[in-house]
Symmetry: C3
Subunit: 272 residues, 3 copies
């Protein structure tokens, strides 16, 4: 997977982010850490110009506003027109009508290269409705070793139906284009105690997609491995008394320092 | 106080935050650190759905927008209807007409479980007007050992008048429901050199209120002790060359690692 | 330069920031670190009251919204009326029509004490249009030892033309009022891998301007030296495995701990 990481560092893709104000700073820093360059803009009158100078668009609905929704559609159409990859992170889809309908609307109207979310959000999009409690996946939905076959076949068929790469992240991550499915087992459960590791992954994955247009599936899977491996490396550097705030920094630091060789050695995946 | 801390870790209350974009990331991470789960939403059309899946609502007026004001009222009414505790953090009340009038309007219209602010903000609300300089308390207003009796009687009578728990934080913290008043002496003056320790406390206090509905006063006081004690523990881990950025992380880390026993041993309070 | 640093610590200037939501938390913490006190407000109906209680106004267009643009003009006029220094950070001017026109409009309508940006943004403002790619300077525009004379004469004449102090930051920093030009060689290239070091500098520079009204040029130059020197000190404290997230904290920590004597010893500049 090293070539996808190295391509990002070499080409420094500019990523346009329309994202929530909770985790936006970490998203910017992780995009820089992986070798990309972030720019944020969510004003409808600004987004077409901004997305035009970028290589990819990351749409995250974590703190929707009416005005930013309009910006998402305008930026998305422009990015589609220019052939830039567009990623959707449907944060909280299923937890409110506005989030669900906005995510579904973006899926209908835009050509999405990747949809990345937790399993409850992805199930909501697949069913067209949901009842997620908040921004975390419901435990009952979790992808486990026990339901793995079934989960893979669900994400594959959803990927086929919507024509996007689907990346479901959790204890076990699944990334599929409908044909092959990467099953990834990097990461640490403690990452769930930091706000925004999912948002960070979406930002980084957009950089990977922009830098590797010939290999969208492999690039998305590589980004998932980088984030999970950074979680493992960051955890190994934790000291007595450290907690989630320090862990957040150590993960971004680990992305910053990760080489292609580190990734090659540390990535834990199989293709099914 | 250990039982209130442990109840948060056990029940993982979901907290809806309508808060400022300055300190929102730290608020999310401290809620995770204490054992809760945060969700942010301030779009009027989104907030009723979101607050309905949560256990408590934290309203912070640190960066008001016209649209978020509407969201505060709508979310607050919904939370009241559902019996969820609602906390108000009147950041900068007294520093602008909009902040003062919004805070007073929220007090009039909503049933607030807790109002948490610095002494100048609380005095502004009690008097119905104020002239605070910025977001910090005026030195002349400070609660001190010298004016403690008078300060306690002021917060008790204000708590009675408005029917909310009042939590005033500063060098000495006061938390009262109008009958008993917790006088808390945890914390470090250097916490004032970090943006948002007050906002963090409000988020965490909402998690404590949501998890401990039978003991609102004790839960609010426990949250104040946790934050102050975390400030002390975090400070004890500071190294040569560390400053306010690192201190911020160490405080959240200390909340993350704090056990009921640590709190029991470290909380410094009397009830008056 | 120590007197300008010490004056900030002594007078604790209150700085009103209308800034982007990406780096706002770091801006607040660096203003606290240098000895000032930050307040954020970007609602048009709130900003006049808020700017009136402050000593300086920092306008940063990093994530423009239609509503915040109105707030920038209203706050700027009020600050001008009160004689407070107003700083403009034209983030991304040249990358979109909205950013360019907003920055030019603010220049026309307001009396700006300082304009601080990267060289591509400043060239865009000087020419009245531009084609910057994103929020970083184009490599072709960079100030280098080779084009230094020419660069100095460009910034001097632009400063004269617009009547503001111009601060261009990059590998070599230039700060001029049209007569004298500080050429500053502090800093580290790795600072470009952290989001918002420029935004942080703008916030800190506004605190310096507010605290040193008699010496606007020297105060602006001192702030540039503080930020660059903090970047050097922060870098010297980096350990194996640290990356851009930790570096961000170490820089703010270094600002927090910097004394007038440290600055005097570490500042690397000449006046041309």
């Amino acid at each position: 997977m090293r070539e996808y990481l190295e391509k990002v560092r070499k080409t420094v893709p500019l990523v346009h982010n329309i994202t929530n104000y909770v985790t936006v700073n970490d998203v910017a820093n992780v995009i820089l850490a992986c070798g990309g360059s972030p720019i944020m803009s969510d004003e409808a009158e600004d987004v077409e110009d901004i997305t035009a100078v970028c290589g990819g668009l990351n749409i995250n609905i974590g703190t929707l506003h009416k005005t930013s929704i309009e910006a998402m559609f305008r930026a998305g159409r422009k990015a589609n027109e220019l052939g830039h990859p567009v990623l959707l992170d449907p944060v909280g889809a299923g937890a409110s009508a506005l989030r669900t309908s906005t995510a579904l609307g973006l899926m209908r109207e835009l050509n999405l290269a990747v949809i990345r979310g937790n399993i409850s959000e992805i199930k909501t999009l697949a069913k067209g409705s949901g009842t997620t409690k908040g921004v975390d996946a419901d435990a009952a939905d979790a992808v486990t070793e026990e339901n793995l076959d079934e989960s893979i076949s669900f994400v594959k068929s959803f990927a086929k139906a919507c024509g996007s790469i689907i990346a479901v992240t959790g204890a076990i991550d699944l990334v599929t284009d409908g044909s092959a499915c990467y099953v990834i087992r990097n990461g640490r459960p403690e990452m769930g105690k930091i706000t925004g590791t999912g948002c960070q992954l979406s930002g980084m994955m957009t950089a990977y997609a922009a830098a590797n247009p010939e290999h969208p599936l492999e690039a998305a899977a590589a980004a998932v491995c980088v984030m999970g491996l950074a979680g493992e490396i960051g955890w190994s550097r934790m000291q007595e008394g450290d907690g989630n705030a320090t862990y957040r920094n150590r993960i971004i630091d680990a992305v910053y320092n990760m080489t292609g060789e580190d990734l090659e050695k540390g990535a834990k995946y199989e293709v099914r």
